[in-house]
């Protein structure tokens, strides 16, 4: 039977059919659907969890592997930075049950803070990496990854990219294999990485990887497709599909195992073609290694190192022309207003950023829907680097510029992000005598990635009730004495609290608590409307940046189909012109 699956769903299917027993992840675009799809398989067959962060996710998977189960941890590319510590040493220990680590990279930065190329992790950590180029391969490669992991006693990295993760394609569905747990034996020489043992395992790693290097030349995931021999293209992942679209008749060496590379196969291919190109997204990862073999190839001389590729870029580089006729090209040049993402109408974060902007505070930000608070018209964020960075960076600013600065600064972080890696920053702030103010935007979910649960929601990935970690208790345990819970729809109170807390000379935490509007199903509300007789056109309400409001040639109107009735605009209006609509 065939099904039309996202690359991520297909990967999950492959892991399931390969007998995976433990699957862990922290949500992150473009990887999230892998673990959501895993959770659709029966709990008796696969244990699935949202972990608090990627490092923990990988550690749980490592434990499961050592205990004899096939295990998988999935994350976005920057998540692998968080999990890099266990990653490198897991290469030393190797595995018992097969261990697969999925890294979903985001060339083109559709939903990320950078576009790092995680193929470099495979090389740095000495871990084999497979890279599928469509949904069927995502499934097949996932299955293969478990086999290889057990065969070579190594974790396997499986690299997805956004266009493979989020493209649907036809996938042949099979049966789940019955893979029993492997026997567990204590083996401190293999699993306890103290210096003496670790050094021996490092020698072992070099030896294990040399076997994989030899195997790469015969691995069926690497294949030559002979076509027109005047042009030979070495490529991997989604770049293969783009290249085939642009140059269907050329000869190809398609690499399914992108680390280690098959040196013999590359040499064979290179001598069989007149002109050799390497086509890959982002870094010249394959190209550099091909050139190190003494082979002449053309790569980043003509292809970009920034942004994703597509068939058009490849056609232009190799043939000197794209797909569109010149007349069509011209049409693309016309001005069309951009449509950047915005917080939803009624989003509980909106009022917070309105107040922060009004108070002219310096705001260190974090990763989530609320990062959109940096955009106009709220424009209330100064810094956003990575998950959990808001609190440490606020402390750093205070240490650089003194207490007075701290009185004008807040760190803003979501509930899920706080659990992920904000808590350690808060411990640092208290421990090292910072006086900063931290606002935890608690919308009871992981919003941007599509609403996943986390330890402070009280629900597991399978929607079973569980212990709900308390943000207040965590802050208290870190040593924060001033903890205030506010309703972000009550802007007046919020403003007073923020003023008071930023003025004190001790660390404080403000928890702005209200569920994400898209989840708050219990809430009943009436949309608002503008009474044109009372509206004076002062535009105060427009500074909220609510997408349900529009300025129709000086007349302010609210689109009732979009308004979620939060009432923020009505509270701001000093002429009492915005009221609940009669419907």
């Amino acid at each position: 039977m065939k099904d039309l699956l996202l690359g991520n769903e297909a990967l999950a299917r492959g892991a399931y059919e390969a007998g995976v027993r433990v699957a862990t992840a922290y949500p992150g675009t473009p990887s999230t659907e892998i673990t959501e799809a895993m959770a659709l398989y029966p709990a008796e067959e696969v244990y699935v969890e949202w972990s608090p962060n990627e490092k923990v996710a990988l550690e749980v998977a490592i434990g499961a592997s050592v205990a004899g189960a096939r295990a998988m941890a999935s994350m976005k590319h920057v998540g692998l930075n968080v999990a890099a510590d266990p990653l490198f040493t897991a290469a030393y220990t190797g595995v018992n049950g097969g261990l697969v680590i999925v890294t979903a990279d985001d060339p083109g930065l559709f939903s990320s803070q950078n576009e790092q190329d995680n193929r470099l992790y495979a090389q740095a950590a000495h871990i084999p990496m497979l890279e599928p180029s469509d949904s069927q391969e995502a499934k097949d490669f996932a299955m293969m990854a478990f086999e290889l992991s057990e065969r070579f006693d190594l974790p396997i990295l499986l690299r997805m990219t956004t266009r493979v993760s989020h493209a649907r394609g036809l996938v042949e569905i099979g049966e789940r294999k019955n893979i029993p747990l492997k026997e567990y034996k204590r083996d401190i020489n293999k699993y306890v990485m103290m210096p003496a043992m670790a050094k021996r395992r490092h020698y072992s790693l070099v030896e294990r990887m040399s076997r994989v290097e030899a195997y790469a030349n015969e691995c069926h995931l690497n294949r030559i497709e002979w076509g027109d021999r005047r042009i030979g293209i070495i490529t991997d992942g989604i770049a293969y599909q783009y290249a085939k679209e642009a140059m269907p008749d050329a000869s190809y060496l398609k690499l399914g195992m992108v680390y280690p590379l098959p040196a013999e196969l590359i040499k064979e291919f290179a001598v069989g073609v007149d002109k050799l190109y390497v086509i890959e997204e982002l870094e010249p990862f394959i190209e550099t290694q091909v050139k190190a073999l003494g082979i002449h190839a053309i790569g980043k001389e003509i292809f970009p190192v920034v942004d994703e590729l597509n068939a058009e870029i490849i056609a232009k580089a190799l043939l000197g022309r794209g797909f569109a006729t010149p007349e069509r090209e011209k049409l693309a040049g016309q001005h069309v207003p951009v449509r950047p993402p915005v917080m939803c109408p009624g989003c509980p974060h909106r009022g917070v950023f309105y107040v922060l902007d009004k108070l002219k505070l310096t705001v260190t930000g974090d990763i989530g829907c609320y990062t959109l608070g940096a955009t106009a018209p709220l424009s209330a964020m100064d810094l956003c680097v990575c998950m959990g960075a808001s609190i440490g960076s606020a402390l750093g600013m205070e240490k650089a510029r003194g207490k007075e600065w701290a009185h004008k600064t807040v760190a803003v972080i979501g509930d899920s992000t706080f659990i992920h890696s904000g808590i350690t920053g808060l411990i640092d702030m208290v421990y090292n005598k910072g006086t900063g103010t931290v606002i935890i935007l608690d919308n009871s979910t992981t919003g941007m990635t599509g609403h996943q649960d986390h330890p402070a929601t009280g629900w597991t990935i399978r929607k079973e009730p569980t212990y709900q970690a308390s943000l207040e208790a965590l802050a208290k345990a870190a040593g924060v004495n001033r903890i205030t819970v506010i309703d972000p729809y009550d802007m007046e109170h919020m403003e007073a609290v923020i003023k008071e807390e930023t003025a004190t000379d001790e660390p404080s935490v403000i928890i702005a608590r209200r569920p994400c509007i898209l989840l708050d199903k219990k809430r009943t509300y009436t949309p608002y409307t503008v009474d044109m007789d009372k509206c004076m056109g002062c535009e105060i309400c427009m500074h909220l940046g609510c997408p349900a409001m529009e300025n129709d040639d000086g007349a302010f109107v609210i689109d009732v189909t979009q308004c979620n009735g939060c009432g923020l605009c009505s509270n701001l209006c000093i002429f009492d012109a915005i009221k609940e609509a009669d419907i």
Binding site: S111, R168, E245, L331, V342, M343, A376
Partner: protein, 192 residues
Amino acid sequence: MDKVTNILIVGVGGQGTLLASKVIGRWAMNAGYDVKVSEVHGMSQRGGSVVTYVRFGPKVFSPLIEKGQADMVLAFEKLEALRWAPYLNEDGIVIANTQEIMPMPVIIGADEYPPDIMERLNTMCKRVLAIDALDMAMQAGNSKAANIVLIGAMAKMMDGDKQSWLDVITQVVPPRTVEINQKAFLKGYETA
């Protein structure tokens, strides 16, 4: 059909374009084609411009559609129709929902919502079909079914057999919304 058919589904994050692409993708799969559907998840789904690429034919490589290659743009919002129309080929068709959703630069007065979208579309494409999908969806029983109204219009344009589409809709939408969605489909189908 020995050539690949390329359809762009465009709109504003949150409008339900993903369900529409699922319907078209399944229909093409049932019809025996190779299919690729490229979706957008993550940040753009928060009210940004979103595009889904649907491609089907004997063999599909890239999941993306290049400029000048689309046979049809199915637009859930008028401005998005204009944004993506240059992707059409010379014979391309636009089906545009007449709904207008203001982007933030327009809301804050930094830009203007183009007043002449329909005229501009007409000069760019062979055929433009403008339909008030929101209104028709409400007539069918739920404003959320606007995406299926648009699918109905598209199915007619593609000359497909009506029943094959109705079957897919029954498979894809939540069971309790089947009736409303089938009604919505027929409204769109009859308009085109």
